[in-house]
Each structure stands twice: as C-alpha cells, then as structure tokens.
C-alpha cells in the first residue's frame, strides 16, 4: 500500500510539469485543469467523475482567503486570545489593540474615521441593523423607505419585514442596463422618507450605481443614504465623504478575507442614530453588543489593507481576464448577451445569457467550472433571478444566465479553459435545441402559436 503511494508520487513528481503546484492543488486549479489526465487524480463529485477540482469562477459568492490574511489571522488566533473588552489585564489590551488596528485598516479603505466602524458578523447583519435600526429609531416621524428592485435579499427581506410592521416601502425599478433612474428617485422621496438604500455594486450583474449623484440627491432632501457596499469595497474606489453615505455595509469574505465578519459604517457628523439589533453590554458604540470575534476582525483588517494596496493592480489584471473571457466566447458563439451596463460595471463580474440554451442544463454540463446562475442566495430556488427580471430580460433569457466571477487569483489558463468548456457545452446544447434549428431556418420564434397537448 505504501509502496503504491510512493510510486504514484514519484511518477507524478517526475512527469507533472507544474510539480510544485500540484502539491498545493487545493489553492491553484490552473494545474488541475491543464495537467495530463491520470486515473487516480480524477475526482468523484456527486456520482460524476471529473478530471480535477473545478475552476473557481464564482468570486461574487465568496473569495478564497488570501494567504497573507491567513498568516495574520493564524498568528492572532494563537497569541491574542484575550477578550478585547477586558479592561483589566494585558490579554484584553492586546486583543483590543489588534481590533483597533483592524478598525483603522478598514476605515482607511473607505476614507472614514475609525470611530465610525462597527464590526458585525457580516454584511447581512449590517444591512439588517441599518435598515431596521434607522426606521425603528425614527418611527414616530419617518414612515417611508426607498430601495431598488435589484437589492440583495437581506435588504429586501428587511424591507418586507418593515412593511409587516406598518412602514411603507417603495421598490424603485431600474433601467434595462441595471442603473437607477435618478429622476424616479427624486420623485419618490417624500417628507416622511427615513432611508434610501441602494447597493453600490450589484452582486449578480456587477453594475456600479451612480453613487455620487444619489448621495447628492439624498443630501438635498436631507434623507439618510444607506448603501450595501459588500461587493464594492476593495474593488472600486470608495469614499464615504464623496458619496455622502450615512451608513455602509461591508463584508470580509468578498475581499479575500475570512467568512463570518463584516462591518457597518455609521456616520458621526451629521450623526445618524440606530436602534441596535443586539442589546447587551454596549460594545461597538452600543450598536452591536457582544464580544468581537478578534481573529476574524484581524483578518478583515488585513484583507482591507491588502485591497487598498493592490486595488489598481487587481483591476488591471481582472479587466484583462474579463476581456479575454468575453472575446473568447463571442468569437465562437453568437447570441451571447451581457446582462447589465457594460460601461458602469465592476470588471470582475460577467453575467452572460446564451440564447436558445437552458441555464440549468448548461450548468450541469459545465461540471468542471464552478460558476453560478444568478446569486448564491437565489441558486437554491427554482425561479430565475429577480434581478434579471427587474432588468426587463425576457423569461427565456433570464433562465439561461451564467455569472462568471473573476478575482485576484484567477489565471489566464483558467479563463481559457473556461471559454473552451463553455463554448463546447453551448454548442452541444444548441445542436440538440429545436428552437435553435428553427431560428437558423429563419422562423421568428416569438410569432409561433404553441399548441397545448
């Protein structure tokens, strides 16, 4: 048994050109994709055999943890185990110091003061605290919330919950490119509007909203502006002063940090007041009681600092890869539609619809590429994404959308392989598709009268 393992390892080491990488196969999937196919290296995943671990192209769902962030967290976990709120001994002071350093790192990324950062368990908690907290605090005078139809589920669910409590919510529609119509926003604001919540970068289609203009409108009408910037920080330049936001939700695991931590930026001047969701000893300015997860917070801070340093380089790299992906697919296929504005978009998100192909079958065919159709939250449900519906995409195109997420660690080989696999799958499915046949013959599908059996 041992000799078999040894001989297999020797064979692998001698013949595999990417010798060093194959040892850390869990991190780099480029090697797995391009390596020669040995029988004992294939993986059995849910009854299907694939040649190696799939290519990870779902960066909007989550990102792998950056090794440098992991180093910072590891060190902190072992040595700084005190409760950061213990005031009486060195263990508490050390842990508190680590948390404060992380706070400064997060604040610098968004041009805020460290006193304005409240650490939470993630962007979902931050969104809940912001939306429900603000409206509950001002419930006597403010009864109206404005948000968009393309928000993240946690914001929409919080708004629905507020509706149950008696508040009124306006869900603004978006234009076909995914951007908010500023005139509609201006018209929707009422004297009793307590909050405007519009996300900075959409997680499904990647469009970047016109934040400065929205901030200006909110300032004119004196309405607090909340934004879910979980997909935006560390990727596009964020400035809370220029955007005039009163509240901003952030998440660590979207910027190569650990899962389970996020933050809420709460403006101090002019002060915005919230009713906290977590009551207790008054930690984090009374807005989020409970012992802070020191190590997660340290990881978040380290991730923010890295993001600040590498934002420009990452953008260049990812933009190159995005163009490679889109051009590669468009060269070989027609009927490919990009969902959302191409101009005002974050480069790492590419949401494509392939006409005459069914999305689920395409996903099942793309076994060796880890992508998503729509967002991770909507992947559990059978309905197509509500974001695409808000864009006005036809039902058949909405069903066929695939979201490619490109990140800091994606390589050219991964993109090339993804293009190859996608093109192969789409062509195979289109060959089988009767609709595609009809289109090729020149029949206009929209005018067909389907008969009921």
């Amino acid at each position: 048994m041992a000799s078999k393992v040894i001989s297999a390892t020797i064979r692998r080491a001698l013949t595999n050109p990417h010798g060093a990488f194959s040892r850390c196969r869990h991190l780099s999937t480029a090697a797995a994709a391009t390596a020669v196919n040995y029988e004992d290296e294939s993986i059995l995943m849910k009854g299907v055999r694939i040649s190696g671990r799939p290519l990870y192209l779902d960066m909007q769902a989550t990102t792998p943890i950056d090794p440098r962030v992991f180093d910072a967290m590891n060190d902190s976990t072992i040595h700084e185990y005190g409760n950061p709120h213990s005031r009486t001994h060195m263990y508490g002071w050390e842990a508190e110091n680590a948390v404060e350093v992380a706070r400064i790192q997060v604040a610098k990324l968004i041009e805020a003061s460290p006193k304005e950062i409240i650490f939470m368990s993630g962007a979902t908690e931050a969104n809940n605290t912001a939306v429900k907290g603000v409206m509950h605090f001002y419930r006597d005078t403010k009864k109206h919330v404005i948000t968009t139809q393309t928000e993240h589920k946690c914001v929409l669910d919080s708004c629905r919950h507020l509706q149950q409590e008696g508040f009124e919510v306006t869900y603004l529609p978006v234009k076909t490119d995914g951007l908010v119509d500023l005139e509609m926003l201006k018209e929707a604001i009422r004297p009793d509007t307590g909050l405007v919540s519009i996300m900075a970068v959409n997680n499904e289609i990647g469009v970047v909203q016109p934040m400065e203009e929205i901030g200006r409108i909110c300032k004119e009408h004196n309405v607090p502006f909340h934004t879910d910037a979980a997909q935006a920080i560390g990727k596009i330049p964020v400035d809370v002063k220029k955007w005039n936001v009163a509240l901003m939700s952030m998440s660590a695991h979207k910027i190569y940090g650990p899962k389970g931590v996020g933050a809420l930026y709460v403006r101090r001047r002019p002060r915005i007041r919230l009713e906290p969701l977590m009551n207790g000893g008054g930690q984090e300015r009374g807005l989020r009681s409970g012992t802070g997860a020191t190590q997660q917070i340290v990881g978040f801070g380290a991730a923010c600092e890295l993001a600040m340093k590498e934002m420009e380089y990452d953008e260049k790299w990812i933009k190159g890869l995005q163009e490679r992906l889109l051009n590669g697919i468009r060269e070989k296929l027609d009927g490919v539609v990009v969902n959302g504005s191409m101009d005002s978009r974050y480069v790492g998100n590419l949401n494509l619809s392939f006409a005459y192909v069914e999305g689920e079958s395409l996903l099942m065919g793309l076994k060796e590429v880890a992508v998503s159709s729509g967002s991770a939250c909507t992947s559990a449900s059978l309905e197509p994404s509500y974001v695409l519906r808000a864009l006005g995409v036809d039902e058949d195109m909405a069903h066929t959308s695939i979201r490619f997420g490109i990140g800091r660690f994606t390589t050219k080989e991964e993109i090339d392989k993804a293009v190859e696999l996608t093109v192969k799958q789409v062509e195979k499915l289109r060959e089988m598709s009767p609709l595609y046949e009809m289109v090729k013959e020149g029949i206009d599908i929209k005018n067909i009268q389907w008969s009921q059996h």
Partner: protein, 197 residues
Amino acid sequence: MVFHRLSRLGSRIVRELPRGIFMPVFGMRILHRSYGQYLQSSPMLQRQTRSLKEALFSNNRKFCTSFSTTSEKGGEETEKINVIFVDKDGEEIHIKVPIGMNILEAAHENDIELEGACEGSLACSTCHVIVMDTEYYNKLEEPTDEENDMLDLAFGLTATSRLGCQVIAKPELDGVRLAIPSATRNFAVDGFVPKPH
C-alpha cells in the same frame, strides 16, 4: 416701605429702558411683584428687588451669564428658570434652576432620581434626559461629538435626548419639560437606586 419705593422705581425703569438689556421675563416678574407686594412681603421679593438694584448699578453681563453657583456673589440668588421633570411613572416635579447650573446638579439638589455616575465628566450616559418638546430641543446648543458618543450608549435613546450634565440652564429654557428614562445603562432590574455622591 423702602422696598416698596425701590420696586416702584424699578418697574418704572424697566418700562423705560430698552428691552434689549433686561429680559422680558425678568421685567414681567418685577411688574407683577410690584403689585403683589401690597399683599405680601416675602424673602423672595426682597431678593428680587435686591438683585434689581444690582442689575441697575452693576454690569449686566455679569448678571446674565454667571456660570457657577459659587460665584463672587456668594450665597445670593441669581435668576432662576422653571424646569419640569417627568419621572418614569409620569409624575411631574417642578423645580427652579438657577441660570448657569447644569441640569444634573439641579436634579441632585432637588433630590430627583437622576443618576450621575461620572459626576458630569462626559464619561457615562446615566444622566440621560429626554427633552419632551422639539422646540426646546432646538434651543439647546448642538451636542459635541463626545456627548453624542456617550449618548449612543444610553438606554431608551430618542431623537431629542441629551445628557443632563451638558444642558446648562439659560433663560430661553424656562418651562422646559425633561423626561427621565425608565432605566440607565447601569442595570438595576431589582429597583436599586444609587445615591448621588
């Protein structure tokens, strides 16, 4: 007899002097007193007329803006405003607060249950009071960042909350109603009330 004449003189002066120097409230009170003093002669009245004399012959600015109760005037009374505290059961307590005194001190002097754990050094939120009328709230100065930070920690915070130790009595606040919240951040679910030190 002397007091009677002095108060008469004072009321005439008040009528003739421009309104800018004397507060209307102050002037009105003197006018009332000058009729009322026929009916009674109280120490309050004596103090009022004595203070009128001082106002006439001394710098007005000193009179209107004295901050500490232990000023060079010693035990002599300064102008007071009416403050109404509404405690957690809804009962109203009317007190008079000298101008320049902070609300926390005034409450302690009148044995009102307003806890002031840090004794007015902006390090806690236990003297949290809620200004019941928005127009009185707007008459107060903007809270500083430090006060706002402490207020964030207060129990039962509202949009018109202030820290009592930072509210200094001034004539515009006459008649202000301050509600005391039902609890402070120092948990006392057993009903314990700490004594002011």
